[in-house]
């Protein structure tokens, strides 16, 4: 099997302050729900850059900004999913 592709979750100071601790388990669950966990691996990253717009996720070259524990589910299904499906 091919190595999984990384989905980077920023864990820098700013993003941490904005709830990464709570985003992480949610995100893991969402990946499972959509059976993406077979092809995508969630990885921790140091500061991804746009700190002011935390929390930040990165898949391939695309950044997803302003993610919060509250809006994660919506943002994931409406926006991120189509990018992530490219890994399938």
């Amino acid at each position: 099997m091919n190595a999984k592709e990384p989905l980077w979750l920023c864990m820098g100071s700013a993003c941490h302050q904005r709830g990464v601790y709570d985003i992480l388990p949610h995100l893991q669950r969402l990946l499972c729900e959509h059976q993406l966990d077979r092809v995508i691996e969630l990885k921790g990253s140091f500061c991804l850059g746009p700190c002011v717009n935390g929390s930040v996720l990165k898949f391939r070259e695309t950044l997803f900004i302003n993610i919060t524990p509250e809006n994660l589910r919506v943002r994931f299904t409406m926006e991120m999913l189509r990018h992530l499906k490219a890994a399938l």
Binding site: M11, S13, H16, Y21, L24, G44, F46, C47
Partner: protein
């Protein structure tokens, strides 16, 4: 070169007492390090005051390079004698080491003989007896080498177990044997040796010491060095140089800060991953990369590190067990004898956000506080701003 004079002292208080009748003072006078252990007669307040007075007089006078006989006659002349027991009210041991040449002089006035081990085995220093104001003072001299351990003891150490676990107390031979065994296990620091021996003393006393017991240990070992690179340099073109410096450093290496970590990642041409399992609700995770011993987030981690180090008063053995960024950083800092900080002064845009609490807004002042604390716990610290 790069031998380190590791000095640590620790005391058990006589059961039920709130003050210790044994007192230790350390003075640094030029190249000379002077460590004094004084044991006041009896225990409690009176003993404590006598021992404090004695060690302070010696520290002040020897620190000011007063000649030995003058120091001793001042102390012996000042100390009252106990009329009943015909002994002085406070006894003392002075260990004076030249940090450069490692020449050592030990002055012992009525304390138990010092322990001295060379390469882990009992050894002896040349000694002579001098009469000062009609009192015997034993003076030992020699030169220490890497691996030597020398310790001054108060008599409470030798009396451990008296009448209880052992009829006549632990005694000097047993203390020496126990220390020898301790050294077999590569203890790594004066603190480790002193703590193990003193724990045994406490055990023999069944946790209720019948006398104050103190060990002041001097251990010559290789100096442990650490470099901490934190914060992006003011000018981007200095990034490379800072990394060159970090990787050329002979010792352990820590990178502290997200942007700083990215600078190091770029330099190495790799993405540095954070170890998710080390993330805590109040602390971002750490990362690892070849040739760097630890990478952490910056401000939050460093602030918590400072808190933790203060909570445990710089005692590495009391750090919390949790494997998080702050504990790991505190471990690196407290393990080192010599620490070089490479502090980049560029402030990330994010921290200029006026909505942020001020305490996470200024790296430089945080580093200053950390440095101050480390110096208080006798670390040699050098700070380089870039």
């Amino acid at each position: 070169m790069h031998d380190f004079l590791d000095i640590h002292d620790s005391s058990l208080f006589r059961h039920g007492e709130e003050l210790c009748g044994d007192q230790v003072r350390l003075v640094q006078a030029g190249d000379r390090t002077i460590a004094i252990l004084s044991d006041g007669l009896g225990s409690g307040v009176k003993a404590c005051i006598l021992a404090t007075l004695t060690s302070q007089i010696i520290a002040t006078m020897l620190g000011a390079e007063a000649p030995l006989d003058e120091v001793l006659s001042t102390v012996i002349g000042t100390l009252p004698m106990c009329k009943v027991r015909e002994i002085a009210y406070a006894t003392f041991t002075v260990v004076e080491v030249n940090q450069v040449t490692l020449e050592v002089r030990v002055i012992n006035f009525d304390n138990p003989p010092i322990l001295y081990l060379k390469a882990g085995h009992p050894a002896k220093l040349q000694h002579r007896v001098e009469k000062i104001l009609d009192r015997d003072v034993i003076i030992s001299e020699g030169r220490l080498e890497r691996g030597d351990f020398l310790a001054a003891l108060s008599d409470g150490v030798l009396h451990a177990g008296l009448g209880g676990a052992m009829n006549f107390g632990w005694g000097r031979d047993n203390v020496l044997k126990f220390t020898e065994q301790t050294m077999l296990h590569n203890p790594g620091s004066a603190r480790a040796i002193v703590t193990r021996v003193l724990n045994e003393v406490n055990r023999l006393y069944h946790d209720e010491p019948g006398d104050d017991a103190t060990i002041m240990g001097v251990y010559v070992r290789a100096r442990k060095s650490l470099m901490v690179f934190t914060g992006p340099p003011l000018k981007e073109e200095d990034d490379r140089g800072a990394c060159d410096k970090l990787f050329a450093f002979a010792g352990r290496r820590v990178v502290c800060g997200g942007t700083t970590t990215n600078i190091v990642g770029n330099y190495l041409g790799m993405t540095i991953e954070a170890d998710i399992s080390t993330m805590r609700r109040n602390l971002p995770p750490v990362g690892y990369v070849k040739d760097v011993d630890l990478l952490t987030e910056g401000i939050l981690t460093m602030a918590r590190t400072l808190e933790i180090m203060r909570e445990v008063k710089g005692d590495i053995t009391r750090l919390p067990e949790d494997r998080n960024g702050a504990v790991l950083l505190a471990t690196e800092l407290l393990e080192a004898d010599y620490i070089e900080f490479l502090v980049g002064q560029s402030i990330s845009e994010y921290y200029q956000n006026p909505l942020l609490p001020r305490n996470i807004s200024i790296r430089v002042s945080l580093v200053k506080e950390v440095v101050e604390f480390l110096r208080e716990v006798r670390k040699e610290v050098v700070v380089d701003y870039i």
